[in-house]
Symmetry: C2
Subunit: 231 residues, 2 copies
């Protein structure tokens, strides 16, 4: 990795989107510092994927333990059933029960702390409009507002540096993201999107996230290398 | 406590300022849900004070474990010596080594998560201009920017509720805060401000925070009930 590359903190969940965002950060010449969270999610198999992605593309990788279960309120962390569907057409515009309160705000805050310690002026997050599917903290106006907080919160901002929050996927469809990632050599076998995987790591194929992923691969005309339980 | 009181999440460190902010939230008719953090701070005696303050004024109190040491970079969490002075006149406008990167951004993010789960539209934080003393995340423009994030990040915001970040001390001097708190019956013996207390909990009397506190009590014409090591 080039010694003069600019450092960037990249939020890395181990999902399809953040793996693509990591590859984009590398392509843009940044030296990525990958940041993942163990936050009591059901789908901790994500973190194994994050480790694999970081190993090939990041300069460093930190996994921070945070306990969002303390507050409850989401099917991803609490004992609420993850909804299953047979088709992506069944997804609604309602905010889903898998929404985790303030999750991206918390994740970006930690990224900001690490960026400040590293002297990095760039943070990458793999949110996108499709993945939004009702999550308020995946919207462009949220990212812009957080960027303003980042510049006011930090010593770097006070001293005149500009901190940028990059959300390179925000206006891309799932199929566009997948095509972009395949061009950049992302190994999607080592990503998972499932909210409710089997103990052996296979994806359920029927949660909102699996349905969007599978449709994305179909639309991209590519084969999804991820193992599913029953599809 | 009145059953129809509005819920508010109150960030409570156990210091003088946040104890006063908690009392103000109560006076304004809110039902306080106090939130503290164990973040690897040297001065964990603060948390004992937070427990005491919450016991008398809050409906609930949660202490969340977070590990800011993972990123290093502050005398409050790392092995950097806390600076000592003989007089408040020695304090400079420089950002001090006791600054913890992105601390208030992280704390407010957690407060936001809990507010969302509780259905609370109000968050109190005891930042103030004097306590600012070079900390960028204690400025009014930071609080305003975070309020915007809070309203864009949450389901409540999407559905039309307005989330307010209250910083009632932000334009008060330390002496004004102390007079206000004494009027409201705050027991300042059960607050601590020291960055580097003795193992038995006594304050050092000479760190930036102790100096500002002692000057505040002098200016308010009140006696500081806190025990000091050597003053």
């Amino acid at each position: 990795m080039a010694g003069d590359a600019k450092k960037a903190v990249v939020l890395l969940s181990g999902g399809l989107d953040s793996a693509t965002a990591l590859a984009i950060a590398r392509r843009e010449g940044f030296e990525p510092y990958a940041l993942s969270f163990h936050y009591g999610q059901r789908h901790a198999v994500e973190l194994e994927c994050a480790v694999e992605q970081a190993r090939s593309l990041a300069r460093e990788h930190r996994i921070v333990e945070i306990d969002l279960r303390a507050f409850g309120g989401s099917a991803l962390t609490a004992e609420i059933e993850v909804p299953k569907h047979d088709d992506v057409g069944e997804l609604t515009d309602e905010i889903p029960v898998t929404y985790v309160p303030a999750r991206n705000t918390i994740f970006l805050s930690y990224a900001l702390a690490w960026a400040e310690v590293l002297g990095a002026n760039d943070i990458f997050i793999g949110v996108n409009a499709l993945d939004y599917s009702g999550y308020p903290d995946c919207r462009p106006e949220f990212i812009e507002a957080f960027e303003r907080v980042a510049n006011l919160a930090t010593v770097a901002g006070v001293k005149g540096s500009t901190l940028s929050i990059h959300a390179p996927l925000i206006h891309m469809s799932k199929a566009e993201i997948i095509r972009c990632g395949l061009d950049l050599g992302v190994d999607y076998a080592k990503t998972t999107s499932c909210y409710d995987p089997a103990p052996d790591g296979r994806a359920c194929g029927r949660c909102d996230s699996c349905l969007l992923r599978r449709k994305g691969f179909r639309d991209a005309g590519a084969e999804d290398p991820r193992r599913y339980m029953e599809v």
